[in-house]
Amino acid sequence: MNTLPVFVEGIGLWSTTLGDFAALQAQEQGDAVTPPSARPPATFLPANERRRAPESVLLAIEVAGQAVAMSERSASELLCVFSSAYGDQLISDYMCATLARAPAELSPTRFHNSVHNAPAGYWTMATGCHAASSAISAGPASFGAGLLEAASLSQAEQRPVLLVCSDIAGSGPVGEMSGSRSSFGCALVLSPEQGLRSLGKLMLTLEPHAGLALHPGPPSGAWYESNPTAVSAWPLLQNLACGEGHCTLAAAATLALRITLEKVA
């Protein structure tokens, strides 16, 4: 197959300035947008989990919940793919600092929350989802590789898939390694077939040996450059906000993913 087609049925978004996809659409039209609360509400989580959950989980579940609500799909039926370049960087910093100082004092809860699939675990628990769930990473290509994985899963299984891509801000010495300075997440519900809830059609094409074309340009100072997921997801999100367009993302170090977004009839 040269081109993977998938239909977008729901879009979730959270950043320090945009609280959902509607806010992005408003901003793209030049309207003033009120920034969201500092803590993602993550209303899909039960109240007790919401109080205790780490920031990475709140962020992922917030955007997942938005996308699923927009799709009007039942969350428990969706296969899900959670992608993150760095996982929970706050917990990584806590764990390494604690291990260096007093390893026997490591918190058991923070340890089990440190797994890369913690957001997938909390999401499937909160929604009673027994379908396959995955947690992946692909460095700076985590968004493009996540989209390719979710689209191929949807096409191969002929089932709708929830894709969640998110990274929180880094912290401590290890945070300096990630270069992530803000929190950003986005989510898509993808379906292999056009339906009543289809918002647009994505045509994904792999373009190999694209090394040079994928090298990032010099920093422009734009806010989305402060987060590895935001910088790679931003071109597609802008296209989604206006309903159509082309963009090319990294799916791997030298593998480009060309994405054409078409309006559906």
Partner: protein
């Protein structure tokens, strides 16, 4: 209900663990019932437990061209790639199909965490990561796949799967989908996890670490022994290697129950098993051997034993090999896939080392001692934190 898949050829595979480097050493250790666990000589502070440590990792220096990827996890990957001519087999696939037509899907839960921990033990005077470890690539979950992609010169899809202890079983599912859709012609799958303080003290904090060598399914089991391993497999369409062993099916599911405790009735484990059997087009009584997840934690073994007891006839043999290698976490899926493949190849059902008095939940399927018998179909179970489950089905090419 899942649809049967076209089987894929497992045209090469390899494993490196506490039992040694490469498949020969694993087979020899199994045949002699010789485990690889040792008293913990690894953690940066004392912790009384047993570990499955791989010898020779520290010496497996990366070539200068890849020095930016230096960390113990990548040294274990490099060591593992050199066993059983796997590196040559992967490069041959790249030659045959082209670099962009071979995908790389690798699993890890630790990645280079050991290097990040070391950096925090010796931060510089300003509290930053010391200069020699100030290499962002190794402090990322993708450090393993990034390194191996570069080392093998692969330019197809490249993904890290990190779903804790089911990770390197799930990579077979990713690979099958990529090949089925025609996006690639071959996939290098695998997993590498290394010992580090995070996992040793983390599982210890959860009171899951045994003070003695782990005893999967034994009534007196006291928890897991943490291990490390590297394993790889090359998957292609069967016409490329018609005589090779085959991936027949896979199953994936979520417990939706708890972050670190399995569903009490094994609901997710059973869904993954049913999914694997459906995709393989198999009935339970056609399964000859199951390499169980069998971590030796109280809960896992009780739930998994009950699932096997209620699902399979006594003629299906089942065992855990974690008494040999320890629980190699994100590498357990690929390591135990290798044990399942070896069982088919050599007609050897390995005994459950460390188990002498089985838990009351165990059925007659549990093999305590080695059994020599033909194995046509073998399964491998892998379950992880977050209620993430996977089951793989392997078989032989038809005679």
């Amino acid at each position: 209900m899942s649809v049967p898949i076209q089987p894929l050829a497992v045209s090469a595979f390899t494993a490196t663990s506490a039992l040694g480097h490469g498949l020969e050493s694993h087979l020899a250790a199994l045949a002699a019932s010789r485990g690889g666990l040792r008293p913990n000589d690894f953690s940066s502070a004392p912790l009384a437990c047993w570990i499955g440590r791989v010898d020779g990792v520290e010496e497996a220096q990366l070539p200068a061209a890849h020095a930016v990827w230096e960390c113990r996890n990548n040294r274990l990957a490099w060591l593992g790639l050199h066993q059983d001519h796997f590196l040559e087999r992967a490069l041959d696939a790249r030659q045959r199909y082209g670099a962009a037509r071979v995908a790389l899907v690798l699993a890890t839960s630790t990645a280079g965490m050991g290097a990040t921990e070391e950096a925090y033990r010796r931060l510089d005077a300003q509290g930053h990561i010391p200069a020699d470890l100030r290499r962002p690539l190794i402090h990322s979950p993708h450090s393993l796949a990034g390194f191996v992609a570069e080392a093998l010169g692969l330019e197809g899809p490249c993904l890290t799967v990190s779903t804790a202890c089911s990770s390197s079983a799930k990579v077979f599912a990713n690979a099958e989908r990529l090949i089925r859709l025609g996006l690639v012609d071959a996939v290098v799958v695998g997993g590498v996890d290394t010992l580090c303080d995070s996992v040793l003290f983390g599982f210890n904090a959860l009171e899951l670490v045994s003070p003695e060598p782990c005893r999967p399914f034994d009534q007196a089991r006291r928890g897991i022994s943490v291990g490390e391993a590297a394993g790889f497999a090359l998957l292609e369409r069967i016409d490329a290697a018609p005589r090779a062993l085959r991936l027949l099916g896979y199953g994936e599911s979520s417990d939706a129950h708890h972050m670190s405790t399995p569903h009490p009735e094994g609901l997710g484990a059973e869904l993954a098993l049913r999914d694997a059997l459906e995709r393989a087009g198999l009935r339970a009584d056609q399964v000859h051997y199951i390499n169980l997840h069998g971590t030796a934690s109280l809960k896992n073994d009780e739930v998994e034993a009950a699932l096997v007891a209620r699902t399979f006839p006594a003629s299906t043999r089942a065992s855990s090999t974690k008494g040999y290698t320890g629980h190699t976490l994100g590498a357990a899926g690929i390591l135990e896939a290798a044990f399942a493949l070896l069982a088919i190849q050599h007609g050897l059902v390995p005994g459950s080392l460390g188990c002498t008095t089985p838990d009351a939940a165990c059925g007659p399927q549990l093999a305590l001692e080695n059994e020599r018998r033909p194995v046509e179909v073998a399964l491998s179970n892998s379950f992880g934190f977050g209620g993430n489950n996977a089951c793989l089905a392997f078989g032989r090419a038809p005679a």
